[in-house]
Each structure stands twice: as structure tokens, then as C-alpha cells.
């Protein structure tokens, strides 16, 4: 953490755990009798509860989106660039809610939690989840917080899928949908990358068919490899070239030298993989990537996205990034075209960035201007209500 908390930071934040005892029937047909969600909130809910924003996290995200948990923290929350006083999601104007989704591994009920029936961790027996299950649990969270209607539901990547599902499932509970670097469904290539990642985890001997907790092992290698594969798809070729090129971390190509050669990019990927393996749960990773693969916005609407979006009544902002090849701008344009054909209010910005899919998490002047302009309009609506 910086020595002095910057003025535009939400500062020190404390997560809250919220217990739900009303059974939740999931898309798979199974029921969670009770569950917990860990959340963080920033800013103040106004008297009419009309200034609330829900932030939906992506594959490896969690509830800690902004600020610091303690003065010892090195890094702030994952979207601290965009949430805080005077930032696009301005905590002087809005009450910002972020949660760790069900099935996560940062405090919400998930594969690491104890299954009350067996007294053992759920592990691989945790029910498979769909994006709609998250939306359902988020709606119950909104009830608990006294929020009848979100001023906006916001998310990037897998988070954007939750936003779109919100717009269709609860049209009366969302005024604005901000869908960033997302897609109405994954491509075959996307699913293929996810399957390689899952395969890396499952092939780790320490995975033990998902029962690693009981066996006191952790599939660190597999999870690390899964992250390395994923990480490549989050970056652009251009960025990797700029950042690492063919620079060597150790060794030399000089004749007569027999030392092992390691490229900078190799070392970087290993670092990313190791760091992730220490903080993330393998069963959660499998669950989240499956939810991502299975998501198909228009499946139940006869595969017609226009018919799907006719159910929405909120306004939309759609944002894409030029070098994002995991959720390419073309995917965002498909969303926009379906919204236009469904006669919905939508604005679309195609941001130039060399940062690939990860651009949605990182600072970018134009991206911030677009988000700020849109959110300021929403803030003005909230005030005039």
C-alpha cells in the first residue's frame, strides 16, 4: 500500500459475509439449502436506494474490487483503477457493491466450503453453476441490501455475461447495463483454450479427482499451467512483443556456452502461474470455466439474440478493445447489432488498446472518459429522480 492513501481511493475496506438460509434451486436442478456470499461495498446507499451499482467479476475475480484490506496490502482491489472518489464508478455518487460469486474461493460458498450433509469439503461434488445461478444469488443479495433496482449492473468478460443475463431475467430491476469486453457466447476456440486449462488441472497427480483437500495435496502445477494458458489469451501478441520480445532472463546463445536458456516471457508466465496457484482453488477454476463455456444468451430464445434482448428494458453501454482476441470487438458488435434490431437504447465504444483482453482492467484515458460520461449521466438521473 502507498504510504498515504490517495484521495481517489476508497481507502481501507472490510468485507462482509452474508448468510442466506432460503434454499436456492440451481439451473442444474440441485438445491443449495444455505449459502454465504462475501461482499464489499463502497460509498453510501441513498435514502431511495436508487444509486446502487453491482459489479460482476470475471473468471478469477472476487469481491475485493477497490481499496485496501490493510496497510500491509501491496496492491489494491482488482478494479481500483475505476472505482473510487472521482473515478468512473464514483463512490461519492454511487453505492458500489461487489461480491465473490457462488462457487468462488474467496469466502463465498464454493467447492472449498463444508458440505453440511457430509461434514467434508464439497470439492468436485459442488453443484455445477450457470451464469443465471449467479444472477439469481445476486438478486437475493440485492433484496437483502434493500435494493429494488440497480442504477447499473457492470461487468467485463464473464462479468459482462452476468450483466446481460440480469437484463433479461430481471428487466425491472436494472436501469443500465454496462457490458465490457464480453460476448453472447464463447467461440469454439475459447472453449478449446478452457478445455486445455481444465485438462492441465485434471492431469496433475495432486488433483486426486478433485478430492485434494481430504488428501492434503494441492494441484499447484496443474492450476499454474491452467493460468499460464489463460494468461496468454488475455494478452495481445503486440503487448507480449513489446513487454518481453525475445529477451533472455538467463543463459546465452553464444557458441561454446551450454547454460540453460530462459526467455523473459517464460519466467513471466511461470511467475503468473505460481502466484495464481497459491491463491486460487482448482475446483473453482473448473466450475467457473464451465459456466463460461455453457453460457449462451440466446439459447432459450430459439437462438435468436434479438428475441432475447426484446425482454430487456434497460439502457446499454457496450465497450470493446481493439487487440482483444479472446472477446474480440466483433463479439461486442454482435451484441450491439442485436440490441439495435431489438430497438433498445445502446451506445458502443471500440477502444484502441494494445493490452488485449486485460485492457478492461487497466488504465486507459479514453476508456475512462467513456465510462465516466456514461456513469455521470446515470448519476444525474439518480439526482433528478
Amino acid at each position: 500500500m502507498p504510504e498515504v492513501i490517495p484521495e481517489n481511493s476508497v481507502g481501507i475496506v472490510t468485507p462482509q459475509v452474508i448468510q442466506f438460509d432460503e434454499p436456492l434451486t440451481l439451473a442444474c436442478g440441485r438445491t443449495l439449502d444455505q449459502y454465504q456470499l462475501v461482499i464489499e461495498t463502497y460509498g453510501e446507499l441513498n435514502d431511495s436506494a436508487s444509486n446502487a451499482i453491482l459489479i460482476c467479476h470475471a473468471l478469477s475475480g472476487h469481491h475485493h474490487a477497490a481499496g485496501y484490506h490493510s496497510t500491509d496490502d501491496i496492491k489494491p482491489g482488482w478494479w481500483d483503477n475505476h472505482i473510487g472518489p472521482g473515478k468512473p464508478f464514483d463512490t461519492n455518487q454511487f453505492f458500489v457493491v461487489c461480491l465473490n460469486n457462488l462457487g468462488g474461493c474467496h469466502g463465498s460458498t464454493g467447492p472449498n466450503s463444508i458440505n453440511p450433509i457430509t461434514g467434508q469439503p464439497w470439492g468436485p461434488d459442488f453443484p455445477p453453476l450457470r451464469v443465471r445461478d449467479w444472477v439469481e444469488s445476486q438478486a437475493r443479495l440485492a433484496d437483502r441490501l434493500g435494493i429494488q433496482q440497480w442504477a447499473a449492473v457492470v461487468g467485463g468478460s464473464l462479468g459482462g455475461m452476468q450483466v446481460m443475463r440480469w437484463a433479461l431475467e430481471y428487466p425491472e430491476r436494472i436501469r443500465h447495463a454496462v457490458v465490457i469486453a464480453s460476448a453472447m457466447k464463447l467461440s469454439a476456440q475459447n472453449i478449446a483454450f478452457n478445455e486445455i486449462a481444465r485438462n492441465a488441472i485434471k492431469s496433475d497427480p495432486d488433483f486426486r479427482d478433485g478430492h485434494y483437500l481430504e488428501n492434503q495435496t494441492l494441484p499447484r502445477n496443474g492450476l499454474g499451467q491452467a493460468r499460464m494458458i489463460g494468461h496468454i489469451t488475455y494478452l495481445s501478441d503486440e503487448l507480449m512483443g513489446d513487454k518481453f520480445g525475445r529477451e533472455l532472463r538467463s543463459g546465452s546463445f553464444q557458441r561454446g556456452q551450454d547454460t540453460p536458456i530462459e526467455f523473459q516471457v517464460e519466467s513471466y508466465l511461470h511467475y503468473q502461474g505460481d502466484a495464481f496457484a497459491n491463491t486460487f482453488d482448482a475446483n473453482t477454476y473448473l466450475l467457473m470455466t464451465k459456466a463460461l463455456d455453457y453460457f449462451d444468451l440466446a439459447r432459450e430464445y430459439n437462438n435468436d439474440p434479438v428475441a432475447a434482448f426484446r425482454h430487456a428494458s434497460c439502457n446499454f453501454l457496450v465497450v470493446s478493445f481493439s487487440t482483444d482476441w479472446r472477446f474480440a470487438p466483433e463479439r461486442s458488435r454482435e451484441i450491439v447489432e442485436a440490441l439495435i434490431a431489438a430497438n433498445k437504447n445502446v451506445s458502443y465504444a471500440a477502444i484502441d488498446s494494445n493490452l488485449g483482453h486485460d485492457a478492461f482492467l487497466l488504465p486507459n484515458k479514453r476508456y475512462e472518459n467513456v465510462l465516466s460520461a456514461y456513469m455521470n449521466r446515470i448519476a444525474a438521473e439518480v439526482v433528478s429522480q
Partner: protein, 198 residues
């Protein structure tokens, strides 16, 4: 937000509660006006990042789009009116853009600076150089306006393409041009405003 005179003229031709597509919508001034005064629903297409942000700030639907790529994302006759103000001359293929506008819209409205205006002619005659005027401040080498035309040129294109002219209006900012622009628009109007259908 400045409301140009041509926007006032255009809005007479837009039906209340209709669906409008505004090509090269700038900061969204026209769509904002139409939304307030005629409850029009619509989208603006724009490519300039700052103008896109301005549209969003104005509460106007804006879609980042390169108009030279065509309007393939829009179905035939999916809008009541397609508008393009002061941008036709900046298109790479203005005649194809016009075709696209008439495909997507039931009607369309086009405004453009009249290069046949006597001030432009006089500038060229006396200076022997490409006209630089109050409205058209660019030099020939840095102008985004790559396809200038005159009122007569545009009329000829409409005839050639069998485009029906529903209304035509001409704007001049000076006296006595304002009095006589109706008699000889190709010489005295600065801006031409056409309401078209196919």
C-alpha cells in the same frame, strides 16, 4: 451544444416518435433536439473518440462506426429517416453512402456545403487557390472534405440515381444572399438541405 440552422430545418421533416439514424452525428446535438421535441428514438454513428464521449455525455445513443465500411449492420428500411449533416463531402464514396442511406431508411436527409457559392468561386477566381472560408477553414491538404460538390452537382446525382427530392432548402448567412438564394441557390446558398426518398 450549438444548434445549427440546418438542424432546425431538418426537424420539420422528421415525424414525431419515428426512428432516426444520424450518420456522423458529432456531439449528438440533432438527436438530442429530436428526442426532446419529437420523442424520436434513434442512434448516432460517429468515429471521432471525443465526439463519441460527448454523445454519451448528452445522453444520445452513439455507435462507434466507420461509415466508409457501409451500413451493412442495418436491415433494409429499418429506420424512418436516415440523416447525414455536413459529412457527405468527407466520405470516400459519397454516392455509395447515399445508396446505403436510402436502403436503410424510408427517407433520408442530407446537408452539405455548397461549393458553387459565389464566395468560393470569387476566392478561386481572385486568389487562384482553393477557397478557405469561415465555414470551410481547412487547407486543401489537411481537409477531411475530400468530395466537394455544388447544388447542381447534387441535383444531377439525384436525377441519375432516380432519387426523389421531397424538399430542398437553402441556407445563407449573409445579406443579400439570404434574399436571393431561392432564385439562384447554386450561386447564393452556403448550405443545401435535401429531403429525399427512393
Amino acid at each position: 451544444m450549438t444548434i445549427r440552422i440546418d438542424l432546425d430545418i431538418i426537424q420539420q421533416w422528421i415525424k414525431p416518435c419515428s426512428r432516426v439514424l444520424d450518420l456522423g452525428c458529432g456531439d449528438g446535438a440533432l438527436l438530442k433536439l429530436l428526442k426532446q421535441q419529437k420523442q424520436v428514438e434513434g442512434y448516432g454513428l460517429e468515429i471521432d473518440p471525443d465526439k463519441i464521449t460527448a454523445c454519451i455525455a448528452n445522453g444520445v445513443n452513439v455507435l462507434e462506426t466507420d461509415l466508409d465500411q457501409g451500413l451493412t449492420q442495418f436491415a433494409d428500411k429499418s429506420f424512418d429517416t436516415v440523416v447525414m449533416t455536413q459529412a457527405l463531402q468527407a466520405m470516400r464514396y459519397p454516392h455509395l453512402v447515399l445508396d446505403e442511406m436510402l436502403r436503410v431508411g424510408q427517407e433520408c436527409v442530407v446537408t452539405f456545403p455548397n461549393f458553387g457559392n459565389w464566395r468560393a468561386r470569387f476566392y478561386l477566381l481572385t486568389h487562384g487557390r482553393m477557397p478557405v472560408t469561415k465555414q470551410l477553414t481547412y487547407q486543401w491538404y489537411d481537409t477531411p472534405n475530400i468530395h466537394f460538390c455544388t447544388v447542381n452537382d447534387f441535383e444531377a446525382l439525384c436525377t441519375e440515381k432516380h432519387i426523389r427530392v421531397l424538399h430542398r432548402e437553402f441556407v445563407a448567412s449573409h445579406q443579400p444572399d439570404q434574399q436571393i438564394k431561392g432564385i439562384w441557390p447554386n450561386l447564393f446558398s452556403e448550405t443545401a438541405i435535401y429531403h429525399l426518398s427512393k
